[in-house]
Amino acid sequence: MNVRSPDMNRRWNRKDLLGLRELSADEINFILETADAFKQVGTREIKKVPALRGKTLVNFFVEPSTRTRTSFELAASRLSADVINISASTSSLTKGETLKDTAKVLEANHADIIVLRHSSAGAPQFLAQRLKSSVINAGDGAHEHPTQGLLDLYTIREKREKIDNLNVVIVGDILFSRVARSNIFGLLKLGARVTLVGPSTLAPREFEKLGVSISHKIDNVLPDADVVNLLRIQHERQRKEYFPSIGEYTQLFGLTKERAKLLKPDCLIMHPGPINRGVEIDSEVADGLQSVILDQVTNGLAVRMAVLYLCGGIATP
């Protein structure tokens, strides 16, 4: 007559999702299993469930973002939560209010869940420790982007039916990438082997301490890869001393049509988007059969529904 599981509390009792580093393999797997159920909701005639009815979610994006914010907004709507969007330019942060004060105001307005994107690493944790609301990290500086990491894990698990023992290659600007960090933590916990590829300035040796391999020659690692995850070259953050030129990057690290021939036929090609066609990936490759870039977007919705349900659905003490 009911579906309460005795081990629910053992498997999940967090109000916040700040990063994948602090999660156990079991917690990550539990989010992925929960996402399976929410992915199925997308196939229904009515794609909306009342799971978070009456809850209020605030999308608080101090750094610009379209796809992550939209994905969270859609996920919240499908769970019947009310959504408010606040961006840096419309918030009182521009008037000198501190992050903590703005967040306190949000909480006083009964925000149950705050989804925060911020340019400073640690900002979500700062709020989570001070607020009763659930805080979901939607990207903090170069630290973590846990829901992107989770949707990448979900997509790999869906397409390859496992993660354990797969060779995953992450290419690009590792140093400044929160997507790379969340992926590294999650993949290693679930038993994958991770190789980082990029110029030595952007894929430095220090990362080996995390338990990954580093390579500066992409052609050496492509033939053994089960998954290639290409990071976006973030023109807007790139500083000259790290990065010679776009043309040289493409020549050395871009997944060109010719280079893609080195891949195994079942190797997945991933990209967190938005894509710079012709820079980190050729158009034909991005739109090819091995590309799962659009699956990542669809799965992002299911994963974010699962995270909002798990963090936002527990009773606040």
Partner: protein, 172 residues
């Protein structure tokens, strides 16, 4: 209730479903996880044995349609629903182990409506223990078990619980 009594009750429920639904091909049995799914499988097997018809079955998960999320410290685990589509024109029979307040059944009906609009929805339960909080009744009942609200009903099925089939009514 022991294993033999459970099987007898489910066999009778299967017969009643056959009697009440002349067009068995339009019937879908939808179990509520996890024991409802196992009971669905057993009823379908009884119908197969007596009528030589493979009845369609599905799973209807109610966790995301419950009305008490946030009201308790423990969140229900969500699972994927699986129903044969389209549901239009079909008779959908919700199957669960224990019928109690009726709130789970209400949630199941909400879930079903988001997949489509069956011609009719019926309800089958292994145990009806009373104490309804909503205007809901079962069409097929394995056993009526009058109980006090302070008592507990525990159902165990071999396939879902790794214990022998049994139903107990007990006080904590």
């Amino acid at each position: 209730m022991d294993a033999a009594a459970i099987q007898r009750a489910l066999r009778r429920v299967a017969h009643e479903i056959v009697e009440r639904n002349p067009d068995l091909r339009s019937v879908v049995l939808a179990g509520i996880p996890s024991r409802g799914v196992e009971i669905t499988r057993r009823i379908a097997e009884f119908i197969r044995a007596s009528e030589k018809i493979e009845i369609e079955t599905g799973i209807v998960d109610v966790a995301m349609h419950r009305d008490d999320v946030g009201a308790r410290a423990e969140l229900p685990v969500v699972r994927a629903s699986k129903l044969p589509l389209p549901l239009e024109g079909r008779t959908l029979i919700i199957v669960d182990d224990v019928l109690y307040t009726g709130r789970t059944v209400r949630a199941a009906m909400d879930a079903i409506n988001s997949f489509g609009r069956p011609a009719r929805i019926q309800l089958a339960a292994l145990i009806d223990r009373g104490h309804r909080e909503l205007p809901i009744r079962a069409d097929y009942v394995g056993k009526n078990l009058p109980s006090a609200a302070s008592e507990k009903v525990r159902v165990r099925l071999e396939q879902t619980d790794s214990e022998s089939d049994a139903v107990w009514l007990f006080k904590e």
